[in-house]
């Protein structure tokens, strides 16, 4: 039997580097990060497949639509490298399997990734950085520009390697038994709490409606503040969410709606 072809550490690192730098480079409406994913797989493919036919098949396999939160999502690249290694060594893994795994992981990792990284970690670091800026000027942005890339860079590489090992060991074990669901739920709890807090701080909407009769002027906003401070902000979020999830409108449609609704509100002196 032929010797087992093991990917070198250097190949893995190059594969990760390609991804880390160029994951967003050629994003498009058709393939999203598809070319970038293939680019990340190049070192792996070059090392594993000497046969031209096999190589072409591999390249085509990874040029399909792909999209994930790229920083945390490097775990998929690792998993895929492991699958390719096994395939090149004769395991019965066809194109479909590899693509199924990629697609299955894309969804949760985009959700978790977007929630945790731009949705939670970045706002927290920026909030700290703003605080520092207020008391110590330029140290604030310096703090952010050092801490964020280091933390995320290391995590991304760690996750790539973790994905590679997990892929060899069978990622099914990790994803089954409700563990991945429990983990997703738990991380969503964190993300939702922080996003609620962000909404409270950064969404601003108040009504300008006033009722004046003789000497007495009633500001409607004051009444709302009495009922629930920030009520209009949270209602706005609920409306957006409703349009997207129940009415199945596209984000662009909703943006247009917000433009018009706000305009109407301003003209009618509601806002």
């Amino acid at each position: 039997m032929a010797e087992y072809k093991k990917l070198t550490q250097k190949t893995l690192f190059n594969s990760w580097l390609n991804w880390f730098f160029f994951n967003g480079s050629s994003q498009s409406g058709e393939r999203m990060q598809g070319i970038a994913f293939c680019h990340s797989m190049l070192p792996v493919i070059e090392e594993l497949y000497k046969d031209k036919e096999e190589k072409i098949k591999a390249l085509k396999r990874h040029l399909v639509l792909f999209n994930v939160e790229p920083q945390i999502g490097s775990v998929i690249n690792g998993v895929t490298a492991a699958f390719e290694e096994q395939r090149a060594n004769g395991a019965e893994i066809d194109d479909d399997t590899i693509n199924t795994v990629k697609v299955a992981l894309m969804g949760p990792l985009s959700g978790i990734g977007d929630t945790l990284v731009p949705g939670t970690l970045i706002p927290i670091l920026l909030a700290i950085a703003i605080g520092i800026t207020k008391s110590a000027g330029i140290l604030g942005p310096v703090f952010y520009a050092l801490v964020y890339p280091i933390v995320i860079g290391l995590s991304s590489w760690y996750l790539y390697k973790f994905g590679y090992s997990a892929g060899l060991g069978g990622i099914q074990d990790i994803m089954q038994g409700g563990k991945i669901d429990a983990l997703t739920n738990a991380l969503n709890v964190l993300g939702l709490l922080v996003m609620g807090a962000l909404s409270a701080s950064y969404i601003n909407l108040s009504t300008a409606i006033k009722y004046t009769s003789g000497e007495m002027a009633i500001e409607f906003q004051k009444i709302l503040d009495n009922i629930f401070p920030g009520l209009l902000s949270i209602l706005t979020v609920v409306v957006v969410w409703y349009l997207l999830s129940v009415k199945k409108k596209s984000p662009l449609w909703v943006m247009g709606f917000l433009f018009l609704a706000t305009f109407a509100g301003v003209v009618l002196k509601i806002f």
């Binding site: 409406g29 070319i35 390249l59 920083q71 706002p123 609620g196 950064y202």
Partner: protein
């Protein structure tokens, strides 16, 4: 001034979504592209760090929670960071107009991004051709090549706006009727709800979890807790959420 403006426009490209050169998305869009970082750089280039940071704090706070799931961008924080700050310093305008100015600038950035996103389809098709022939280096070239478009679409508009706009900003702002200014301000306060709503739509499968969102909201509105305190509580809560759902032994 030409050189400074060129430098700022270059940075506006390097911090744009997709630009790979400074540690990829991580060092680019998510670091250079943040208004706080952008304003500091603009301040250093134009020699007025103090005003720049004043602007930076204002606009960073407004767009602190921006998320672009599935490439949907409610406003372009990178353009907002560089162009707003630079325009204000160059035209010696008052930092307090930054949030209003940020709205049209952010929307311009979004439009550009959406155009790029369509143009890039071209590179995908050419990459298919290289794959057909087994030329790996061609695929790499296509991935990198898309940056020519990105550079052109980011650098040129930024440069033009700054170079020609700096003189007119004050006049321009004076020309705009107050209702439009008011409209832009209200819009700036509403738009963050779009990003949040998109994310909610993505992660909430069970409506009861919306309760957690409301808790976070109330912790700020009623108890005035800072975001960091809430995040730490969230981590603790998440750990036990996982523990009690994950079927682990409780005494582990």
């Amino acid at each position: 001034m030409f050189i400074q403006i060129a430098l700022i426009s270059l940075l506006a490209y390097l911090g744009a979504i997709g630009a790979p050169w400074i540690l990829g998305t991580t060092g680019g869009f998510y670091t250079l592209g943040r208004p706080l970082v952008a304003s500091a750089l603009v301040g250093l280039i134009l020699g007025d760090v103090k005003t720049a940071l004043e602007v930076g704090i204002l606009i960073q706070a407004m767009y602190i929670g921006i998320i672009t799931p599935g490439a949907v961008m409610p406003f372009d924080v990178d353009y907002i960071g560089y162009i707003t700050t630079a325009l204000i310093i160059l035209s010696k305008a008052d930092p307090s107009i930054a949030p209003t100015l940020a709205v049209p600038v952010g929307l311009l950035g979004v439009t550009i991004w959406n155009i790029i996103w369509v143009i890039n389809v071209y590179f995908a098709h050419r990459a298919d051709g290289y794959a057909e022939k087994g030329v790996g280096s061609g695929i790499k070239a296509m991935n990198l090549g898309a940056q020519i478009v990105n550079f052109a679409m980011r650098f040129i508009p930024a440069f033009l706006i700054l170079y020609f706009g700096r003189g007119f900003l004050q006049n321009l702002l004076n020309m705009i009727p107050p209702i439009i200014t008011h409209y832009l301000t209200v819009l700036g306060g509403i738009l963050p709800a779009l990003g949040i709503g998109i994310l909610l739509n993505m992660i909430i499968k069970d409506k009861s979890y919306f309760g957690i969102f409301i808790l976070g909201f109330m912790l700020v509105k009623y108890l005035n807790l800072p975001i960091i305190a809430i995040a730490v509580m969230g981590v603790v809560l998440a750990i036990f959420w996982f523990k009690f759902q994950g079927g682990e032994s409780y005494n582990g």
